[in-house]
Symmetry: C2
Subunit: 244 residues, 2 copies
Amino acid sequence: MHNTTTPPIPTAAPCLSERIGHTLALLEERVPITRRLVRCGDTVYQAGERMESLHVIHSGFFKTVNLSADGREQVVGLHFKGDWLGFDGIAEGQFACDAIAMDTGEVWTIRYDALLAACARTPALLASMHAAMSREIGRDRESMLALCTLPADARVADFLRNWAVSMEQRGLRTDQITLRMTRAEIGNYLGMKLETVSRALSRLERDKVIGFSEKGRRDLHIPDVRALGAFVARSLAPAALTLQ
Amino acid sequence: MHNTTTPPIPTAAPCLSERIGHTLALLEERVPITRRLVRCGDTVYQAGERMESLHVIHSGFFKTVNLSADGREQVVGLHFKGDWLGFDGIAEGQFACDAIAMDTGEVWTIRYDALLAACARTPALLASMHAAMSREIGRDRESMLALCTLPADARVADFLRNWAVSMEQRGLRTDQITLRMTRAEIGNYLGMKLETVSRALSRLERDKVIGFSEKGRRDLHIPDVRALGAFVARSLAPAALTLQ
DNA sequence: CGGCTGGTTGAGGCATCTCAAACGCAGTGG
DNA sequence: CCACTGCGTTTGAGATGCCTCAACCAGCCG
């Protein structure tokens, strides 16, 4: 983790894949871990449950769902390999949301007390954990920014772009992605209705920014990730080209 | 800062005020601190700046502002006494947003390396910091929930309620609050336009949920905090009473 | 086959945005 | 003292983006 030259912003992308491997290796050798295989729909933890452990995703894909007292429910986060689950439970000693598997996968469960003890012996582990919490805060704020400043179509494009970037950072293929969420779930996550998601995807397809696989409407391919970013930018200043 | 009589709602409220005092005392005795007085508009840190220190608010009121590459700008957090500033900078070693004072106040600045060293010696300090990060994640998710599930009027009511609760948790008066934000800033934070904020406040006043001070439209008083919660609930199920 | 779940698309309605006018207040300078 | 200006706020009227409601389609499974 020693930088010879400090790069300005030359894509932190390849870095993250290594960092994930590093963190997983570190955990494996320094902390008692319980491995658990999960299937789509399994809950890793539930709101209200006592927080005794944190979890790190070894493989698979997960969502966190916030439930308010009056029954409103919202997907507040999507999580991939290397992400931690359960930070929300530290403050109050119990979880504030549900963490649910969206696919088969494996989570590593680590008792929080054991983790802290290991962190005391291994500063790099503490640094990993802090970095993960920090990144989570940053991602939440990016979500808020998108929710508040982007129109529906652009929000969907941004969502797909973030997904592709997440894949890229983990060394997976970005041109082809299979959404494991229904339109309703995507809409819930993005603060819009399922019909709006559907229309947005259709428009993105019409604009050739994405394409649907012949297999079905859940799989789509992204010819060029940057085109998604360009679509977002375009919908922010539609008249800028003609005016100036 | 010891309360002789516990305030109306004996929930987790009194707890937090004590915890803030505890954390500040702990910092004061275990870590080298730089105190800094700030005035409205001063920046505590800026996006892109190297993260060398974290900050804890000793007094005053601050906002964090996220700025996207394409120029979109959004208030993503409001912070009061006892809150930490700068967590977003840990992951990448540089801050991802601006932290700006909204009022005169004092921040305590702590070098991150010194903080980690102190945490190694004082587990309670580490616990405090983790709890603060965890709470921040929780609050961000609450914000997302509000943004995605509440109509504009309810969002404003919820915003005021959260403000009042924050005051209450810190042992300050909740019936009278002076917004130190313009309508435009509130709207930016809540994902709506300033006119919508203004209309929402007018409606809340008409419904007697809030009242404006005779001094001006920036000061308002809240007869009953629970009425704000009730207003939120009402706008979620307007027809429920008549239907069932 | 028939039911079920998820997706697409259209038509109309509503909440919020946009544009515009007017007001109060504070600061400034004649 | 009174314009005069600038900023923040309020309120109205019209435009629009998204929601609601509804119909229909495709794949899947008993």
